[in-house]
């Protein structure tokens, strides 16, 4: 039996029901048992005093790289799920660009069993669109889903073959799952190390033009219109992409999109001094692009915040910019960056932010969670949106340390994270680092 938990006196925000007020939340048998005033728990229940804190459905990240199988020196399902919990996430969707890639039942089942063993945040694997992520032949979506996959994607690589993308969208309709695409027109982007702009020109680095993303976004929207399939656009980074999505949504197309914390926080200026921790794909763009993706989060053009959590070994980033790998960690800084960049400046209200980091994410990938409705999963985050802290990569639960945010002052972090009715992270009694 799981010991029931009473979370007392917090500001309870449930974006799924648009409620926001001081209340108690009672969790029993791994479910939300009650939400209301003056709940009295049964004897021996665990009490979490949440006065001054926010109690909300656990955050859900639709886009992480957990590196297992194949790159366990960077991250494992276990360390990634722990990092997620420390960031207030109760569920993450693991991209399939592992080695071997998640293109078969066995690999999907392996990730799920590793996640169960770890017992931290839930991990939902995403299967590949194409076998071996080669962009040639469709993976067996039905098999992948029956093993536990929740979506398909070849993330890390775009689907360049428009015919393949069309058939993927059509075939995915059979199962009602989204096809998540990494939008990058390869022939334009090839060899690029950062955003094509004045900083790349100064640094003498080959740029990736915004057009490389936008052409691909436009094509995917057109194919969604052609097929009626659900296209999910990963990590949108440009003003042009936002405009294309806005138009597609106005037309009623089944298009959803995500943006990362780094794309609403940093510009290509962060690459100055050849800072490899600012190297990502899609690259950090210009101030107008940052402005546009923030606006898109506010008006709902972009549905969710996803981290694109991408662990890399320190010495892989300790090299020439051209040769350094793309990507940064995201799970342990996402909420702080969102509060600091979006909520505190008054752009987005906290309940709306939590909607985009939890409820909306659950909706578009059809995941449980994202709600405090009685009887739903007891996946809860207790957050302190007001606490100021300094990012110290040395304290991360992730195995890797690659972040451009080290030393940055942020507002807002997770205090307690509960998954399946159990506390998996408590800042007051932090668990040791896993390996």
């Amino acid at each position: 039996m799981i010991r029931p938990i009473l979370i007392r006196g917090g500001r309870v925000i449930d974006p799924s029901r648009r409620t926001d007020g001081v209340a108690d939340v009672y969790l029993a048998d791994g479910k939300v048992a009650a939400v209301g005033r003056n709940i009295v728990g049964e004897d021996g229940c665990q009490v979490i005093e949440a006065a001054g804190k926010v109690v909300t459905p656990g955050l859900i990240d639709l886009h992480v790289h957990l590196r297992e199988p194949g790159f366990e020196e960077l991250e494992t399902v276990s360390t990634g799920a722990m990092a997620a919990a420390a960031g207030g996430f109760t569920a993450v969707c693991a991209m399939p660009n592992t080695d071997p890639p998640l293109d078969n039942q066995g690999a999907i089942g392996f990730v799920i069993s590793q996640a169960q063993k770890a017992g931290k945040a839930r991990v939902y694997p995403i299967g590949t669109i194409s076998l071996g992520q080669k962009g040639e032949q469709l993976s067996e979506f039905g098999e992948l889903l029956s093993a536990g996959a929740v979506a398909v994607s070849d993330d890390g690589k775009p689907i360049m073959n428009s015919h393949l993308m069309r058939t993927a969208l059509e075939y995915a309709k059979t199962f009602g799952i989204p096809v998540a695409d990494h939008c990058e027109e390869i022939t334009l982007a090839q060899g690029g190390a950062m955003h094509e702009g004045i900083v790349a020109t100064r640094l003498g680095l080959k740029g990736i033009p915004a057009a490389a993303e936008e052409i691909h976004v436009a094509r995917d929207c057109i194919l969604s219109e052609l097929t009626g399939g659900h296209i999910h656009l990963c990590h949108m980074s440009t003003r042009g992409s936002v405009e294309l999505i806005r138009r597609a949504k106005a037309k009623g197309l089944h298009v959803t999109a995500e943006v990362t914390p780094h794309h609403f926080t940093l510009t290509h200026d962060a690459c100055d001094g050849y800072n490899t921790n600012a190297k990502m794909n899609p690259p950090l763009r210009e101030p107008e692009d940052v402005e546009a993706v923030r606006e898109a989060l506010k008006d709902g053009t972009v549905d969710v915040i996803a981290t694109d959590h991408a662990p890399h070994h320190y010495d892989a980033k300790e090299r020439e910019f051209d040769d350094a790998p793309n990507g940064i960690l995201g799970l342990e800084t996402a909420f702080g960056l969102a509060v600091t960049q979006l909520v505190r400046p008054g752009l987005i209200a906290l309940p709306d932010l939590l909607y985009r980091m939890s409820t909306r994410a659950a909706q578009i990938f059809k995941l449980p969670g994202g709600t405090l409705a009685v009887g739903s999963h007891a996946d809860i985050a207790v957050l302190d949106p007001d606490v100021e802290w300094t990012v110290d990569p040395g304290q991360f639960y992730s195995k890797s340390r690659n972040t451009p945010f080290g030393g940055r002052r942020l507002f807002g972090r997770a205090e307690v994270t509960i998954v399946r009715g159990r506390v998996v992270y408590d800042r007051a009694a932090p668990p040791g680092r896993l390996s």
Binding site: Y274, R319, E320, F321, D322, D323
Partner: protein, 318 residues
């Protein structure tokens, strides 16, 4: 800060002040004479050890640096890594650490990756001189171009210099733009738009797409080398067509309102970006550029040596 200070490394001209660039040029002016002496050698860097670390083949720049080092009495070692990618072997970090352990005073680095000189400079105590990093900068080439123009015109302020050709892939273009702008020259870049970065105007330069316009406007042309692989990469259709549309030819120069000084960083593709009779003509300063190259590099070595590491104070354990 004393005016005679460059800092630890010479990575590019972007980060130097006008005063620092002038210090380099004025010091180079003195070193010109050393190369004319019966014994072309002074003891200024006696006892200093310098590694010429060339990850990219470059006979001309390496020899120029080597002459500069030897004329200052430094001890030099040449390390040439022919492999185009360090990922095949030792990483640049490891190379840096090994040099550090050997107590090298200075490293001259040529590397295919932009930013590699700064990367190295940030990781070792030795002075680092950038001898060309990817498409980023080639500061000593920029300085020798400045010195050659100053020799010819007496000053750089108000001078109109057009940098012609493949600007996108050129570290020489970037160093020239920074240096010329800081010393008050007017700069234009001219080339096919497929070889000129869209944002280059933000650096304060004119952008021209017709070589005739550049010739009509400029006091001096710096003609960039066209890498032959630009053709196969789809930036231009053919060398023949490039010469026809963008080549610096005698016929085009004959229509200029005044005689233009012609520079080229070398090695030249005669008959492509520049015609032989222009390269060998009376207004070409291509060979004085080479002569000035040694003086400029002596100046850089001499001035940086002032900020050398003092190994004895580090209590080295190796």
């Amino acid at each position: 800060m004393s005016p005679a200070t460059l800092g630890k490394d010479l990575v590019g001209l972007e980060t130097l002040s006008a005063a620092q660039i002038l210090l380099l040029l004025d010091t180079a002016e003195r070193f010109k004479e050393v190369s004319e002496r019966p014994i072309k050698k002074v003891p200024a860097l006696r006892g200093k050890t310098i590694v010429n670390l060339f990850f990219e083949a470059s006979t001309r720049t390496r020899i120029s640096f080597e002459f500069a080092e030897k004329r200052l009495s430094a001890d030099t070692v040449n390390v040439a890594s022919s492999g185009s990618s360090v990922s095949k072997g030792e990483t640049l970090v490891d190379t840096a650490r090994n040099l550090e352990a050997m107590r090298i005073d200075m490293v001259v680095i040529r590397h295919h990756a932009s930013g590699s000189a700064e990367f190295l400079g940030n990781r070792i105590r030795s002075n680092v001189i950038n001898a060309g990093d990817g498409k980023h900068e080639h500061p000593t080439q920029g300085l020798l171009d400045l010195l050659t123009l100053r020799d010819r015109f007496g000053k750089l302020e108000g001078l109109k210099v057009a940098i012609c050709g493949d600007v996108t892939h050129s570290r020489v273009a970037r160093s020239n733009i920074w240096g010329l702008k800081k010393l008050g020259a007017e700069v234009a870049v001219c080339g096919p738009p497929s070889l000129v970065p869209r944002e280059i105007g933000q650096l304060g330069v004119e952008v021209m797409t017709r070589i005739e316009d550049a010739i009509a406007w400029a006091d001096a042309l710096n003609v960039l080398r066209l890498q032959l692989e630009r053709m196969t990469a789809g930036f231009i259709p053919s060398l023949r067509e490039y010469n026809r549309v963008f080549g610096v030819t005698r016929e085009r120069l004959a229509r200029a309102p005044k005689d233009l000084v012609i520079m080229h960083p070398g090695p030249m593709n005669r008959g492509v970006e520049i015609d032989s009779d222009v390269a060998d003509g009376e207004h070409s300063v291509i060979l004085p550029q080479v002569t000035n190259g040694v003086a400029v590099r002596m100046a850089a070595l001499y001035l940086l040596a002032g900020g050398s590491p003092d190994w004895q104070h580090q209590g080295g354990s190796e």
